[in-house]
Every structure is written in C-alpha cells, then in structure tokens.
Point group: C2
Chain length 368, copies 2
Amino acid sequence: MTSGKQLFSTLADGILTVEILETNYSDPTGNQVLVKMEAAPINPSDLALLTGAADLENAEYSDGKFVASMPEPFYSAQKGRHGLRLPVGNEGAGTVVAAGEDEAAQALIGQRVACVPGSAYSQYCVVDASMCLPLGDISSEDGASAFVNPMTALSFAETARAEGHNAIIHTAAASNLGQMLIRICQEDDIALVNIVRKPEHVELLSNMGAKHVVNSSDEDFADQLRGAIDSTGAYLGFDPIGGGQTVDSCFRAMEQVAVKYMDEYSRYGSNQQKKMYIYGRLDMGPTILTPAYGFGWTLSGWLLFPFLQKAGTETAARMRQRVLSGLTSTFASSYKSKVTLEEMLTKEAVTDYRLMKTGEKYLVTPQE
Amino acid sequence: MTSGKQLFSTLADGILTVEILETNYSDPTGNQVLVKMEAAPINPSDLALLTGAADLENAEYSDGKFVASMPEPFYSAQKGRHGLRLPVGNEGAGTVVAAGEDEAAQALIGQRVACVPGSAYSQYCVVDASMCLPLGDISSEDGASAFVNPMTALSFAETARAEGHNAIIHTAAASNLGQMLIRICQEDDIALVNIVRKPEHVELLSNMGAKHVVNSSDEDFADQLRGAIDSTGAYLGFDPIGGGQTVDSCFRAMEQVAVKYMDEYSRYGSNQQKKMYIYGRLDMGPTILTPAYGFGWTLSGWLLFPFLQKAGTETAARMRQRVLSGLTSTFASSYKSKVTLEEMLTKEAVTDYRLMKTGEKYLVTPQE
C-alpha cells in the first residue's frame, strides 16, 4: 500500500477546514492505475470546495492547514457536504507507477498521463485507465491542464456546430479558457464575440487576432455588443459569471439586433431563437433576467461531464486527440505561480488565487 | 367592401390611445374568409397591446376611447410599435359571411368558426380558411376561446410527453388555463403539481380532483412543493408569472428532492435535469435565479405559435380535433362579464380586466 500527502476540505459547524493529511491510497485493481501526481492546476471550478465564500482574511493559518468561518447563506447552501472530508483538485498530470491487472491499465505503467481524479491535490491518485490521456513527450506541467479548460473550450465549438450556430458570444473572455476559445474559433472558422471588462484585455485579445472584442466597462457597451452581434450573427453564448446581468445584456442585444430585421411588429418579440449557457459562477449573486426580449430564448446551466456523456465516446475521443496534439499551442496554459501542497494553504496564496484574476493561475506541484 | 367597427391601439409620444374606429375590411381573396365576429375573449396575452403598463387610473375616458400615459421604462421598451395603429384581439368566433375563390374558403360560407385573427376586437375579420376551426353546433360564445388557452394547455401535455416527462408543475394554476390543464392531465394520466397563492384556490382545484395543490402563501410552501415533487417526479414546469422567484422556487425544490436520492455529494449538484418554461408575464419584474441548484437546469421562454410550427401540422390538427370535441367540457371557458366594443373601453371594465383576477375573464361581443 502506498501512502502520501493529500489535501482535504471539510465543512462543519459553520467552519471550513482545509488541510494536508497523510493518507493511504488503495492499490489499483482491474482497469485502475496509480498515478504519482506531479502537477495540478487550481481552476475556478476547484474553488467551490477549496475556499467557497469562506472568510479567508480572518482565517487561522498554520502549517499545511487553514480554518475559516463560512458565512450564511453559503454554509447552509452546502448542506450536502456538511461533515464530509472531501478530496479536492479536478485535474492534473503525473506518472503511472502501478496498475490493476487489466491490459489497458498495465500498458500505462511508466507513462506520463493527464487525468481527472477529483483528488488531484495529492501525491498519488487512483484513476480509471480509460480516463487517462497519455502525454508522450509532454511534461506533467504542460499536461496538467489538459482536461478542464481545453475540453470545455472545445465543447463550446462542438455545441455551436451541433445546434447550427456559426458564431459564439463568450463573456469573461480574457481568461485562460477564453484565449483557448479564440484559437479554436480561428482554426474552426467560427465567429467569436469576446466580452471583457478592461481596456488591457481588449488589447490582449486583439493582439491575439480576435476580431470582435467588446468592453463591458465602456459607456457604449450595448452599442458595441449589438454591432458585434450584427456582424457575426452570434445568437449563442457561454457565460462563466452567472450572477448579475451579463446574460441579460447578451439576450437584450441579440433581440435588438434581430428586431431590426423584422418586417412587422410583434408584441412577442422576434422569432430569432436566442441561447445562453452559464458554465461557471464567478459571481455568486442571482442571475437577473428582464422581460426585454420576448419569449424566444433559452438559458441553461452547462457542465463538461454531462456534455461529454451526451456527446458520446467517439466525439470525446476525437476531442481528446485534438487537445493532445495542441497542448503546447492551441491549448497551452500559463501559470503565475507554482506552489507545493503546503504553500497552497498559506494566507498569501489562498487570498490571491481565490480572486481568480485573469492570467494569474496557480499550479500545484505535490511532489515538492 | 364591408365596413364596421374595430378596436385599435396606438402608442406614441408616451401616450397609449385605444379607440373604436370605423374601418373598411378588404374583400377575402384566395383562401381567405370574412368572419362576422360574434365573441372574443380578453386573454392575458391581449393585455400587452390593450393596456400594457399604462396609467389607467388617471386616463381620459370617452365614448369608445381611452387615452393613458405610458410610464417608462415601458414606453421605451416598446419602441417597435411607436406610432403604429395596431389591431388587438388574438382569438374569437363568428360566422363566415364571404370567402375567396378557393374551395376550402368557399366551403366555410355560412359556418360558425373559431379563429385567431390577431384583430378579434372587431365586427369583421379576414383570416385564412386553414386557420379556422368549424364549430358545428357550438355557439360562438362557447367557441370564442377555442384556441389560445386550450391549445396552450394541450401543448404542455404534448411537451411533457415529447421530452420524456410524466409529471408537470404549473404555477398560477387556478387560472382558466390551469383548470383545463387539470382536466387534460386527468385524461392523459399525467401527474400535475398545481401552485396557487390563495386558500380558496386550493379548495377550488382540490374540488376539481387535483391531487397536488400547494399554496405559495403558506409558510411551509417549500416543504409542500418538495413533497409534491417527490411524490410525482415533476422536473418540468410551466410558469405564466415570469417575474420574481417562482421559477427559482421550483428549481430549488426540484434540486432538493433530487439531491436526496444521490449516493455521493457533488459540488455541481444533482444530475437530474430540471426544466422550466415561462409562457407569460403576469409579473413584469425581472426573473431572479439564485445559484442554488447546480448546473443541470434549463429555463426557456415559451410561445404557442412557434411550438405549433415545430410540432407540425399533423400534431396541430390532432390537438385541434381534441379541443373541438371537448369545447364544452375539458376545454370550457367561463366569463365574468360580457361587454360590447365600446363597453370594453370604459374605466370600470379596463381597470377590472387588467387585474387578470382568477376566474374573472371578460368576453367581448362586437355585434352588440
């Protein structure tokens, strides 16, 4: 039996405790492999378990541990996890050091793989061989973010094609994922409307060759957005913000453009179907939808795993292959800081990465 | 050429003018028929053009006319109709008195029909024969509401079946439409969760045989709703309110029930897909969605005509046939008051029907 250090998150009695503990990993059986984890990114999707809305300013920090109070309504909203000691870390990469008896598992021994264990902030992980992406010559650091962002961004292009759209709106578009999406849409000839909120992000994305970048902080944002929708025909959008009126702004602009092309007034609005997906919750406030765009709209939550399940193994395999061949180009991630398991729980690190600033991603290196 | 009285609604310079004018109707050609209108209901969907958010208390009322100011933001929100003189009245029934040269049109001469002209508050309407529903022995009053409510309620059952659901949540369920839906669901063996907001409506619907009626004004509303969802498996809902947190309450309750049946905690919520449709705007305030039910949900606007178009002519014809055979039973409407074209524009009438009180529907009789 292998043992090592692993990060756990426990929410109980209004208190969030995140700590590094010594753990015994079960031996891999059947199609499972044991991966010695070498690199794991901190994605926004990890923060739900890692920090949530905890009071990190006034938390108690000690070696490999922090203890923070979790304010209401956030404490009660997570009733399902009260008292549970949960592993954290969606994805990462490392080397397969042991395997179950199945052929596919055995074949991976000694190989570097990317994987999605849900417990990546750990020195070892047990995962199914079928969910491993062999990295070949690519380093664990380059392969650590091979799954969540690349597959999500690719899924947006897949979704657009599957739903008959040739253009996409993306909000919070300066993110790592947003930059990937720009490259994907360039390769796939999909028009992309990028919404950012800072002038330097307009410049960043424009320098990448993005044709339509609109700044939600500008006074004429609504005008900019209508113009971009009008010239691209983007009636499908993806939003990682969730709260507030970002989705509402998109629906409103879509409808205003569509109405321009109507021959006759209709009290019900245009017949143009408008669709938005919320795929993240950077803003935990409520989503506000105003009655300003008739009834021809659909808003959905979006998650990667249900999407991949619905898309089927063939599509998922094709997408994985594309990610692998572009891991250091189209799908490259960059990191602001590298931290060890212990360092990721210091006040300095925690209060910094929970801000989810554009271009300031952390990478965890569990072996150091 | 036939002439007669017709109601028109004009919004211009912040003022809503609704008036009865003498009009010349064009002669029917091709497949068109001229219907002498005998009865037309005032549905909530008519109020958007008829009153909207106009200041009806302080309006100027004269014979066959009222002039009211339209407050912001409602005036600007209807930019598309500024200065247009629009007919009003989705549906009604009457007798075909003239027809174009096509056989189908000619065959309707002398028959009583229900129709959806969009200009039903008028002594005559020109409509396409293919959109007429011959009423046979049924009176125009009984047939006046044969389209909007019956077809909408039937569409909910069609939608449930098409999307693989066996149970429905309906909000504002004490309405005329809600009562039809109860009868349809009884006939079709679909479980129905009725949300109402008054104890007398709980009684009303229970007396009709509704098994699940929950009162949103009760303190334990959330408990009642969870209980009803748990025993029916209703993860699909239809909401005519739109604004506020009705949809949010439904999603929240659906998720809380679904989470009970999960083996393992997931930060992303349950895998149970939750779906709500907004098909009306009884509340013009914003729709508020809180981040309390993960990402497995979809909210859509819903309109009858796009639905029927998508469903296809065969389905629509089958639905129409069912409505016709149940017009005085399953699909019966009842009215609080009958008014002439002129009477419908008095202060007493306008300020009453715009309240859209349950069970207090108006019927317009344009020939009187």
